[in-house]
């Protein structure tokens, strides 16, 4: 089975097929357990085992002992902490489902596989969480988890979750959730990381090389041009080069725009909160759905100085501001038809409250 039909299979996959794939093995997956037929299967099945079967200890099987996990709100690097965090999240949201929407992946040098997994979760807040006391309410949230995998284990991860959309459904204000998080102590590793990421992104230095195949290099160029022309040069008259006339875009906190006029308004308003923002695309991977449809996964950073578009946040004006984000594009006939962009606005506001990143130490 070709990569084309793997993407389509994931899109239409019933649960029984996800748990016991009917497709034959098409990727070598050196060092991985024989049961996995391709990387999408590996990611979907281990996610189901850990989260939905509540086999949290399976993290020991599927995470390296030392595995840096970056989020905009914290840092962990040991499998024990990954397990503890998973346990706490399930205790706070006991019915959390992890519905795999897409797995966009690439095979990189040295038998490393890179996966960008977009997940929809439905979850009821029954216990104390990273946002405060339980509300008893149910919400939906989109997560994009970018993982580097080798020898059957995830050894590096970036996790982006649309927490502002979730808390809006839980009945928690952005201010309250961010203030609650701002009280958490952070490791020196996190502080160093966010300072360095801010500095690197502001200097327009991408963190990874370009590992795309010759066939997919044009999509890497597309992703970089999207960032450069729309975000860095603010040339919104070029939106139609990137988006179909009825492109549907989902951004954090319930921002939904369809069509160039609305997308333009959404991007302008968001960039106004960081008007000197610079975006760097740090990773791109590509899967082919069919002849006319390609799925792209981008991981990116934005760095600049905060400028409140809401007067209540004016106290943070001119503070350094950093966003770790990810976008999934479904591209049809060369232009984006659907986009999901995910970053954590709760953590971003909490970091402003903590005065992170710190430009002097960056």
């Amino acid at each position: 089975m070709s990569e084309i039909s793997i993407a389509k299979t994931v899109y239409w996959q019933p649960l029984h097929d996800m748990l016991d794939p009917a497709r034959s093995k098409t990727q070598t997956l050196a060092g991985f357990d024989d049961e996995f037929v391709d990387l999408a299967d590996y990611i979907l099945r281990i996610t189901h085992r850990i989260w939905e079967q509540k086999n949290i200890g399976a993290c020991y099987d599927y995470y390296a002992d030392f595995c840096p996990v970056h989020t905009l709100g914290g840092y962990a690097d040991s499998v024990d902490v990954v397990i503890q965090n998973t346990l706490k999240t399930i205790a706070a949201f006991p019915d959390r489902s992890l519905i795999g929407e897409d797995v966009i992946f690439s095979e990189e040098a040295n038998e490393v596989y890179y996966s960008s997994h977009r997940i929809t979760s439905i979850m009821t807040n029954k216990g104390p969480s990273e946002f405060g006391a339980p509300t008893g309410k149910t919400g939906r949230v989109t997560t994009i988890a970018d993982c580097m995998c080798k020898d059957n284990k995830i050894f590096y991860e970036w996790l982006m979750r649309d927490n502002s959309f979730l808390i809006a459904q839980l009945g928690i204000s952005l201010d309250d959730a961010a203030a609650f998080q701002a009280n958490f102590s952070l490791s020196n590793t996190f502080t160093q990381w966010i300072n360095e990421e801010y500095s690197r992104t502001a200097a327009n230095e991408a963190s990874l090389g370009d590992d795309l195949s010759e066939q997919d290099k044009p999509w890497g160029d597309f992703a970089k041009a999207w960032a450069e022309n729309l975000f860095n040069k603010r040339m919104f008259n070029q939106l139609s080069h990137f988006y179909k006339p009825n492109a549907a875009v989902q951004w954090p906190g319930g921002r939904q725009a369809t069509g160039n006029a609305a997308i333009s308004g959404m991007l302008i308003k968001w960039l106004a909160s960081c008007p000197d923002a610079n975006m760097v695309v740090d990773h791109v991977c590509v899967t082919h759905y069919d002849q006319n449809r390609v799925h792209l996964a981008l991981r990116w950073g934005v760095a600049g100085h905060y400028n409140a578009t809401d007067a209540k946040y004016a106290q943070f004006n001119q503070q350094p501001h950093y966003i770790l984000g990810a976008s999934h594009f479904e591209i049809e006939d060369g232009r984006i038809a659907r986009e999901w962009t995910v970053f954590d606005e709760v953590a971003a506001l909490a970091n402003l409250m903590r005065k992170l990143p710190n430009e002097a130490e960056a």
Partner: protein, 295 residues
């Protein structure tokens, strides 16, 4: 795959629909996307509850194009008619997306008729109607600038439509997007049925200027209005159009920016519109913006 919904509504068959839903199926109702078996079972239970209070259900129009099926249904009771549209994206018996838009204001009257007899006076809401998904709207330039790309029918058309009907549908879109009042006569006849939810705008018993009046009302009450096509699915003489209006409306608290999702099912006959049904979810709008529809 519309039959799965029909079997649910007419035969209380939850199994056929459940079997067709896959792990990542999404179900839109009340402008909220639902996922997973718990939420899906809840929606089925709501529909069965609605049907237990209904006289009959009629399928008024259907279309099928590629892997998309859509139908316009009407729930009829002695006192009311409730239109709703169901659209599904499917493949090999599996449903990926099930999208429903309901004239929820009529549904509320319909569902509350029994309860009113029992003493309740709340006839404008439905207890189980979903809370819509959070929505943040951004301001944008609503002008149809010549050098800005605005979606037209041909840009978003999915399915087969003759050139003549494509031209008519394009003229229809100019009326509603571009306030082209003069174009009404080229698309509609005096007999063309046009209803917005349960209100008949044009057809039997209406005046020849009624469509123009409705257009003027839209333009007058939705300030800085921008209409955006989302999806157009065509099947010979039937067309489903998903579109939305972003606009400012006047409320007691001043101007409020709103979004109004609309689904329109059209049928054509002899190159003119034979019937046109707009379905707008008034309860979802009111829950989302804390103000009723302005018309």
């Amino acid at each position: 795959m519309l039959s799965t919904i029909q079997q649910l509504l007419e035969k209380r068959d939850t199994k056929t629909l459940t079997d067709a839903l896959i792990h990542s199926s999404r179900w839109l109702l009340g402008e909220r996307l639902h996922y997973g078996p718990v939420q899906q079972r809840g929606l089925m239970a709501n529909w069965l509850d609605i049907m237990s209070r209904s006289g009959s259900i009629e399928q008024c129009a259907t279309l099928q194009s590629g892997n998309i099926d859509a139908g316009l249904f009407c729930l009829t009771s002695s006192s009311s008619k409730t239109y709703f549209v169901t659209m599904c994206e499917h493949s090999d018996g599996a449903i990926k997306q099930l999208l429903q838009w309901v004239d929820s204001a009529s549904l509320a009257k319909h569902c509350n008729a029994d309860e009113n007899e029992a003493g309740s006076t709340n006839a404008t809401s439905v207890d189980f109607w979903p809370e819509p998904d959070p929505l943040q709207l951004s301001e944008f330039d609503p002008q149809l600038h010549q050098y800005t790309t605005h979606a037209g029918i041909s840009d978003v058309l999915y399915g087969s439509l003759s050139d003549a009907l494509n031209t008519k549908l394009t003229a229809w879109w100019h009326i509603w997007q571009g306030f082209d009042s003069a174009g009404i006569e080229s698309v509609y006849t005096g007999e063309s049925h046009l209803s917005v939810n349960s209100t008949v705008v044009n057809g039997e018993g209406t005046t020849s200027s009624s469509i123009a009046s409705w257009l003027t009302q839209l333009e007058g009450k939705l300030h800085r209005r921008y209409s955006q096509l989302e999806q157009v699915v065509a099947d010979n003489n039937s067309v489903l159009v998903r579109w939305r209006i972003d606009a400012d409306i006047k409320t007691d608290n001043g101007l409020v920016r709103v979004r109004l999702p609309i689904v329109t099912m059209l049928t054509f006959k002899q190159n003119k519109i034979e019937s046109e049904y707009w379905v707008i979810d008034a309860l979802a709008f009111e829950k989302r913006f804390s103000t009723p529809l302005p018309f």
